[in-house]
Symmetry: C2
């Protein structure tokens, strides 16, 4: 009887979750996954996630890992978990991993996508996944400001409240806007993210798009050492944890 470690890609609609991480008396992604795993394997099962997402934030490519003493093959486990999970969360690509695999520590890059709806009117079918900001954004200014994000630096200014002493140096590999129909998508990839980092960046970039902040002022804010310098965060429902990447052999 040896424990085997499994990993899976996890997608969820964040609307009805109080975030990804376990909390007492709240419905969380981790809690719901652990409940399904306990029902399947018959024992309490700790599930670890690659990235923390806030209440209301969605995921297409979150990564989870857990141990189980089972003879079931990964595909069967995936089907069984999906049958036990509620309709707003699902696993895919269940696989057996190195028993030391840690979805958070082993992650090399995370990418997020934020969706803005730029039509003048509401779009009922997009209301759960896009922030309705309306038309008239200066996309070129937003793009030019976003370019200042790329590189290795202290991102404290873009963070929400941070525990004292925690490093806020991160590397952003890519940060760009692109149009898709009546939406404007922001795609950002980094080694790791600080709390609320993408939403605070998007909040400030929308201010740039509205002409209330110049790209230079945005760069200046970025250089501040104090968390929350960038001002209020964009709402969570526009954000989606898109993918998490690992070294070869652990790719999703």
């Amino acid at each position: 009887m040896a424990l085997r470690r499994f990993a899976a890609t996890v997608s969820y609609d964040g609307a009805a979750f109080a975030g990804s991480q376990l909390q007492p008396n709240a419905r969380t992604v981790q809690g719901v996954l652990e409940e399904a795993a306990q029902r399947l394997f018959g024992v309490p099962t700790r599930v670890r996630l690659a990235g923390r997402t806030d209440a209301g934030v969605h995921a297409r490519g979150q990564v989870a890992a857990w141990d189980a003493d089972t003879r079931l093959d990964p595909e069967t486990i995936g089907r069984a978990l999906n049958a036990l999970l509620p309709e707003d969360v699902a696993v895919r690509c269940v696989r057996e991993t190195d028993p030391r695999f840690d979805p958070r520590r082993w992650a090399r890059r995370r990418s997020y996508r934020y969706t803005l709806l730029t039509s003048p009117e509401r779009q009922p079918l997009l209301r759960r996944v896009a922030w309705h900001v309306g038309p008239g954004l200066e996309v070129a200014a937003m793009q030019s400001a976003a370019e200042a994000l790329v590189g290795r630096r202290d991102f404290a200014a873009c963070s929400g409240p941070l525990p004292a002493g925690r490093s806020s140096v991160r590397t952003v590999y890519r940060a760009a806007w692109r149009s898709e129909g009546c939406c404007l998508l922001f795609e950002i990839e980094a080694d790791a993210f600080l709390p609320q980092m993408v939403r605070r960046i998007v909040g400030a970039l929308v201010q740039v798009g509205r002409g209330r902040l110049t790209a230079e002022q945005f760069s200046e804010l970025l250089r501040q050492a104090t968390p929350c310098s960038m001002g209020p965060a964009a709402p969570p429902h526009g954000l989606c944890l898109w993918s998490v990447s690992y070294d070869e052999g652990y790719e999703q």
Copy 2:
């Protein structure tokens, strides 16, 4: 004081509606639009719609028209209606029309889109807009069967129950499948549609994709004169009334 006629493009998430057409004691798109119009214009206001959609069916480009004795310009009316409407329905492109404009009778073509999710696993973020049929569909066979739909003919076989004596001759201009990510989209355009026509066609084409019906058997079913010959309808939440077109000058 003269009545002016207005038209608008209407989008809705069909999940919480008992269909588009007014019904006593049920929440309908027409009912919700009439309620908002009555609040804005101060008098009971009849709203007419271009196409009837069943309970659960969505719309991106439904068309509505109504009369009002008002000095407000169309843009202001649009903003005011959207402020009064619930979050699952919105109007756009409000315009003043010919006082004889009838959104149903004047419509030249309607197009619908049906979305199938073909990944093995559920996708929580698509669960409200796609029918999860899983992988393994033979798309080439579905496409070849769909081509038999194009043209002018009696479509009784694809219809749900029909009132006696009502013509079921329609012209289909376009019917095609295309892939988009993990989805398979069916796009169909016709002068008009019979009750449940798109959903029954999709139900049968999925049977073709699963190898349970050949393209020839599909063509044969199509020639039946009895409503419901095509078998059960695909579920409503995968269907969206995409657009309605009019003669030049009334284009959306």
